[in-house]
């Protein structure tokens, strides 16, 4: 009998893998940022599932504090990444990463 916390932790692992795939596979910067967010969400889900101790016991408070801090930090990081993406598009004219001049064949 698998407990529901284990199911949620497995879902978190799947979310992490999907976010990593999107981060690596798509060239568009906005999509990379979305992938990074989904990756972080997967990690949060694993942490909260680890803190769960059954439906009638109080859960472990330390991972909860970690995750709340993590959510706020990830919003700040997303804002910074988005403003960098807008700047990259303004300078290079493209919303995706282009190779450096000396790297180009």
């Amino acid at each position: 009998m698998i407990g529901s916390a284990v199911l949620y932790a497995l879902g978190g692992v799947a979310l992490f893998g999907m976010g990593l795939y999107a981060l690596l596979a798509y060239p568009n910067l906005l999509r990379k940022i979305l992938g990074m967010n989904v990756m972080g969400t997967g990690a949060f889900t694993i942490l909260i599932a680890a803190a769960y101790r059954g439906s009638d016991a109080a859960p472990d408070p330390v991972p909860h504090a970690l995750v709340i801090t993590g959510i706020v930090v990830s919003v700040c990081a997303t804002g910074l990444a988005l403003s960098l993406a807008v700047r990259i598009q303004a300078v290079t004219g493209a919303a995706y990463l282009t190779p450096d001049e000396e790297d180009a064949p």
Partner: protein
């Protein structure tokens, strides 16, 4: 009684899943916005039912936040979500290549 509340919450969650189908299939942006609106309303109802099932009153506060959020998100969407600039056919093609 608690089992009945759980059953109703499960039913409403299945409704949310059907709304997800509309987001996936929806032809225009406005259709997707309406589906997000459905998520807000149904989510509020699910949280109320879960708070009845477990007797935890903190969930009602989350329902309140959902209700506020649905309105704010809808207004932000209506302001920013429409394709605004006269995008030419060429830039549309470019977009499909890059995404």
């Amino acid at each position: 009684m608690s089992a009945f509340f759980q059953l109703a919450a499960l039913f409403l969650l299945l409704n949310v899943g059907a709304g997800l189908l509309r987001i996936l299939r929806g032809r225009t942006t406005a259709d997707r916005l309406l589906a997000v609106q459905l998520f807000g309303t149904t989510g509020t109802a699910i949280l109320i039912l879960l708070s009845l099932a477990t007797g935890e009153s903190a969930y009602q506060t989350i329902a309140l936040v959902f209700a506020i959020l649905a309105g704010v998100l809808g207004i932000v969407f209506a302001r920013y979500g429409q394709p605004s600039a006269p995008a030419s056919a060429q830039s549309q093609e470019l977009k499909h290549e890059l995404n």
